[in-house]
């Protein structure tokens, strides 16, 4: 993972992101009976055998480790869905909608609940492929920044891990562009005095690339 390569550049480490992702909800099928858990983040349960319920990922993993439940992989983690996403991801320039923490959640499930995921090898390789395609897209997309003067980027459907990787570089790059472009604008601003320098400096607003 690119983020691990230059972890110091990233805002969060992968482990930190995983920690954040553990608050996402996931469906489990408990095999024990337990009263509802009243936690700060909310109430979960009651747990009844063979009846699915929603819990945070961390709780699911903890229960799974003790053999108290099976985890139901989320809808998007099925082979058909992922195949569709992968195809769409390859064809379209936009990012396909995937859960914000898809990298982390899939990773957690692969680590802790491999027996609950049907066709795990297929799913795993599909997710890897999707991840590669998306990172590649980000890589090529970033070239645009340097080719033209850009002041803002809109990246829809970017996942946590991806945002984490591009964030340090992109924000700094954009800042730099901004800095570089402002002196010219200051010179110009004499002629167009009555305008707000800030907005004027932006120049003609570019159609933001939707990716």
């Amino acid at each position: 993972m690119a983020s691990q390569a230059d972890a110091h550049a990233a805002t969060f480490s992968a482990a930190e992101l995983e920690f954040l992702a553990e608050d996402e909800l996931i469906e489990i099928v408990p095999n024990m009976r337990m009263d509802p858990l009243n936690l700060i983040c909310g109430d979960f349960g009651p747990f009844r055998p063979q009846i699915a319920t929603q819990v945070p990922v961390w709780l699911a993993v903890a229960l799974k480790r003790r053999g108290k439940c099976t985890i139901r992989p989320p809808d998007w983690m099925s082979v058909e869905k992922l195949t569709q996403v992968l195809e769409a991801e390859r064809d379209a320039e936009k990012f396909q909608p995937l859960p914000f923490h898809y990298v982390e959640i899939s990773r957690l499930l692969f680590d802790h609940a491999r027996d609950d995921i049907p066709d795990i090898y297929m799913v795993r390789s599909l997710i890897e492929d999707i991840k590669d395609v998306r990172f590649h897209k980000i890589g090529t997309g970033l070239e645009i920044i340097s080719r033209e003067r850009t002041y803002a980027l809109r990246l829809k459907n970017l996942s946590a891990m991806e945002a984490n990787i591009v964030r340090p570089f992109v924000t700094r790059a954009l800042q730099t562009f901004y800095k570089l472009s402002s002196p010219d604008m200051i010179q110009d601003s004499d002629s167009v005095s009555n305008r707000q320098p800030q907005t004027a400096n932006r120049g003609p607003r570019r159609q933001l690339k939707d990716r």
Binding site: V29, N31, M32, R33, P49, Q50, I51, A52, P118
Partner: protein, 963 residues
């Protein structure tokens, strides 16, 4: 070409290690059933063509894979040949085994009936073809001449000739009468040798003029009937040899399947392919539907399906023109039977057809004059279809046959139209699916699954709660158990009887016992277990003799009861055993007539009995106890009913799947509790879940099938009814417990929470009534509130909603209620002789008493129920201060509430002493009420009191009057 997919369903297990097997498929006469067999499965399955998900019927008498199937032309007799060397006959459609008609020394490969059904040809790896008289099973002739294993047999529809093909590709043309070889065509068909899943076959055209044989060039070659000359071939897009072919019933079309996994439909006249269909596996057998445009196919993996309209609708239907053929009266055999016959896989029966290709090219020797006749008629038919002159003999014969046939049909239709009494079932069992694990029992506790292997099955018991349930080792079952029931303590199994040797057995297996070998089994002679159930210390089985046998858990035979009718299902919970039986044959209009009984096994008493209602036209699919011990039933139309003792014991429909408006989902009920239904949601073609992966329960809210009300608050209304129902049940339990002298504290708490929930629900209903401007309804609802606090809440609510008029009414109700309460308690305390009047007023004071009685008491009276003489007076005195100032209204309302409360506190003491002595004068009483410390209380107190006093006085006079 359009791309369609034909959904194939699994009918048979795959061959060993996933290999291909030769499968066969047949239609019945009406096209209602499909019969399939596979060379890797000893069972023959009879599927329902319209409802493929319906449990198929298995016919299992062979000991090894079934390689050949044939239906007699009148569809009453099914023949099967197997690798176990035997040919067996069964009744059809019943499937009862009739006889082993013949045996070989090597596996059978092909079977065929002749046109009249009097003769069956069987052949296989042995060298001879046996022609067997079906009536007595005698061997009429053995035809010897083939060198390899014989894989295809076909009687000429005109019953003159017989053709056979072997695995080396040699076709022999026999003359039936002397049984001699007419022609031997060596190596004209592809040699298949070792591949048992692709067998050579051949087929006469329905008119008998052509013999179709798969050719060497991936084509179909047509040979002349008499001379065995090659006439023409159908050649097209098959890239590998053809392995099966089937003429359409009218002979106009032909379906061929190749090793290249495709089916091609040909127009035989034009020698053109019309349509094709690709499959994932080689199709090893096909059959045209006898009526209509459909082709049943089965592939070499044992999956079958129906290709609807293989012939485009723009072209003539594959079954068109058959009626003409019928009047044609070609030969000595039954036209009607011909008409209805399917072109079976091996018994190649068909119709005389008009579609004779290549008329001009035919130069044949006519062997006899009848043929000449028929030839002429054929031509006529083809030209203008004008009526034929039939010879007298033919006519009479066909007439007789047609009568026979009609009789047969009438019988058929009789059995079809009369609705059947549903068969016994175990709640939570899924039907048999070949090669798959299935549930014998799935309940809220765990599951019992069974997987059929050859000759035995593998039974596993799992508890949902793995931490607390006992771990039960899997067991091997040689009995073939089909029924099971499971609870915390043990499991019970039973099997139906199969033939004479295999008796019906009942077996109980405790999960834990201090003694070893505490499992037991019972054998039932000439009796068959239909349903089983178990409870805390007992096991019950209902049998085919309508006996209900009750055993103790150690195997002691305790009771044998005679049931009123054939059993439908049994369910046990703790001491209670619920039995559902048929009370009468199913009604043609309404469906099943069922009744139920609940027996208490411990005390040997009957606790409930009654009819079991079902949605018209449906049948019972689930029956059981809820977690609270209430009876519930679920029918095939998706309605869940719960038994309550309200209205003298009735079933309330508490869930209807049609109301959920999810047509693609089926609900397979597992259990229920007071508010939820536990079920497995199945996607639409399936009505039951698969055993693996273990199905997950879904919770659905119970909801009465309410009418669409003008209020638009159906959820609330539903909750209202539901809570009322629960409250009633709980009160019932409290009464029972109190009667039994047990502690009711915990149930009381429960009742209180439900009352609170009900009040909340009513308050919300009041709000929506107010918003919907249904003020009368709101007033009525207020009366149903059980707690004073809630009434006050209601008053606050309506004042906030700016409905002063209503607030006023509500406070009147509240006051009325307080007074009644006070009075009620007084009277109760003071004098128990006044039972009747107290009851009546009690209703006001505590609607929490049996809810039904509350409703009965309250509903008939409009809000002006305050007609007890005292109240008009009270209202009068109350009115003046309010009339003027609408603004002060809210505070007033509240104040009244408060005052009443305060008053109430004082009253409890005072009223007692004040009223107990009946002769006390009214003037004395205000004195005793001067105590209240609340300044607001003063005025209202007096009013309240006087009214109270009046009503009490009245009551007493009433009571004395009565006395």
């Amino acid at each position: 070409m359009k791309i369609r997919t034909i959904k194939l369903r699994e009918a048979h297990k795959n061959g060993e290690n996933g290999g291909n097997s030769f499968c066969s498929i047949l239609w019945d006469q009406q096209g209602d059933r499909i019969v399939t067999a596979s060379s890797s499965d000893p069972s023959i399955w009879v599927h329902d063509a319209q409802f493929p998900s319906v449990n198929p019927k298995s016919i299992k008498h062979h000991r090894d894979g079934v390689t050949a199937l044939a239906l007699s032309p009148n569809f009453t007799c099914l023949a099967s040949g197997s690798i176990d060397h035997s040919v067996k006959l069964y009744k059809f459609p019943g499937g009862e085994f009739e006889t082993n008609i013949t045996r070989f020394t090597l596996p059978i490969r092909a079977l065929a009936f002749n046109k009249s059904g009097t003769m069956l040809a069987a052949a296989g790896d042995d060298e001879g073809i046996k022609l067997i008289n079906t009536i007595d099973g005698s061997i009429a002739r053995v035809l010897k001449g083939h060198k390899g294993s014989i894989t295809g047999l076909a009687f000429d529809p005109k019953s003159e000739y017989f053709a056979s093909v072997d695995s080396t590709g040699t076709v022999i043309h026999w003359e039936l009468q002397p049984g001699t070889i007419l022609n031997t065509l060596k190596g004209i068909a592809p040699a298949t040798f070792s591949d048992q899943s692709a067998m050579n076959m051949l087929s006469w055209s329905p008119d008998g003029d052509l013999l179709a044989v798969p050719g060497l060039k991936n084509d179909v070659v047509m040979y002349d009937r008499d001379t065995a000359e090659k006439l023409f071939s159908l050649r097209g897009d098959h890239v590998q040899p053809i392995c099966f072919l089937s003429w359409s019933p009218n002979g106009r079309y032909m379906a061929t399947s190749g090793s290249d996994r495709q089916i091609i439909i040909w127009d035989v006249d034009k020698k053109q392919d019309i349509d094709r269909q690709k499959f994932s596996d080689r199709i090893s057998c096909m059959a045209w539907k006898p009526h209509g445009n459909a082709l049943a196919v089965i592939d070499s993996k044992g999956k079958y399906g129906v290709w609807e309209s293989p012939v485009p609708s723009s072209m003539k239907s594959p079954t068109e023109d058959i009626p003409n053929v019928r009047s044609n009266g070609l030969l000595l055999f039954d036209e009607d039977e011909e008409e209805a016959s399917a072109s079976g896989s091996l018994s190649d029966l068909g119709e005389d057809s008009l579609g004779e290709p290549e008329l001009s090219s035919r130069k044949r020797l006519r062997k006899n004059s009848t043929l000449d006749d028929s030839w002429g008629e054929d031509i006529n038919d083809e030209l203008d279809l004008h009526p034929k002159v039939e010879s007298h003999k033919k006519a009479s014969k066909s007439k007789k046959d047609s009568i026979d046939h009609e009789k047969h049909e009438i019988k058929n239709s009789m059995t079809y139209s009369a609705p059947k009494m549903q068969e016994a079932f175990q709640p939570g069992a899924t039907p048999v699916q070949p090669g798959k694990r299935r549930f014998l029992c799935y309940n809220m506790l765990g599951s019992v699954t069974s997987m059929d292997h050859d000759g035995y099955s593998h039974i596993e018991i799992d508890f949902h709660d793995t931490s607390s349930g006992p771990r039960v080792p899997a067991m091997t079952d040689y009995f073939g158990f089909t029924m099971a029931s499971l609870n915390e303590n043990g499991s019970v199994f039973a099997n139906p009887c199969k033939g004479e040797k295999n008796m019906s057995t009942l077996m109980y297996r405790p999960f834990s016992s201090w003694a070893s070998n505490s499992e037991w089994s019972m054998r039932l002679e000439e009796e068959e277990v239909r349903a089983v159930a178990l409870g805390t210390t007992w096991v019950a089985a209902a049998t085919s003799l309508n006996f209900l046998r009750i055993f103790s858990d150690s195997g002691l035979q305790r009771y044998i009861l005679s049931l009123d009718g054939p059993v439908v299902t049994l369910v046990g919970l703790k001491d209670e055993l619920a039995v559902v039986t048929h009370s009468s044959p199913a009604l043609p209009s309404d469906g099943q007539m069922l009744e139920f009984r609940v027996l208490n096994v411990r005390s040997a008493t009957e606790s409930l009995r009654g009819r079991l209602p079902l949605t018209p036209g449906s049948y019972l699919t689930w029956f059981g106890f809820s977690e609270e011990g209430q009876l519930g039933s679920f029918d095939s139309k998706g309605v869940l009913r719960v038994y309550t003792n309200q209205y003298g014991g009735s079933w309330f429909p508490v869930f209807s799947s049609s109301k959920l408006k999810k047509p693609d989902e089926n609900y397979w009920v597992v259990g229920l509790n007071a508010t939820k239904l536990f079920c497995v949601v199945c996607k639409s073609p399936y009505s039951f879940p698969q055993a693996t992966p273990k199905p997950i329960l879904t919770l659905l809210d119970l909801s009465f099938p309410l009418a669409a009300s003008d209020l638009g608050a159906e959820n609330l209304e539903n909750e209202f009814i539901l809570n009322n129902m629960h409250l009633h049940q709980i009160q019932k339990r409290i009464e029972e417990n109190a009667a039994a002298g047990r502690d009711t504290a915990s149930i009381d708490d429960e009742a209180f929470t439900i009352e609170a929930a009900l009040d909340r629900c009513i308050l919300r209903l009041i709000a929506s009534c107010c918003n919907g401007d249904k003020l009368v309804r709101a007033t009525e609802l207020v009366k149903l509130l059980s707690m004073e606090k809630s009434v006050k809440g209601a008053i606050k609510l309506v004042t906030a909603l700016k409905l002063p008029n209503l607030a006023e009414r509500f406070s009147t109700i509240l006051e009325e209620r307080m007074s009644n309460e006070a009075m009620g308690s007084t009277v109760l305390h003071g004098n128990f002789k006044f039972d009747a009047p107290v009851q009546a007023d009690d209703v006001f004071q505590r609607p929490s008493l049996p809810e039904s009685s509350t409703e009965k008491a309250v509903l008939p009276f409009p809000p002006q129920r305050s007609s007890t003489p005292s109240f008009p007076k009270e209202e009068k005195t109350e009115q003046p201060p309010n009339a003027g100032n609408g603004i002060v209204e809210p505070t007033r309302a509240l104040r009244v509430g408060k005052t009443v409360e305060v008053k109430n506190a004082g009253e409890a003491k005072d009223v007692k002493e004040a009223i107990n002595p009946v002769k006390k004068q009214p003037e004395e009483i205000p004195v005793s009420f001067n105590r209240p410390s609340n300044p607001f209380a003063k005025k209202s107190n007096r009013q309240e009191h006087s009214s109270l006093f009046d009503s009490i006085k009245k009551m007493k006079t009433d009571a004395t009057g009565k006395r």
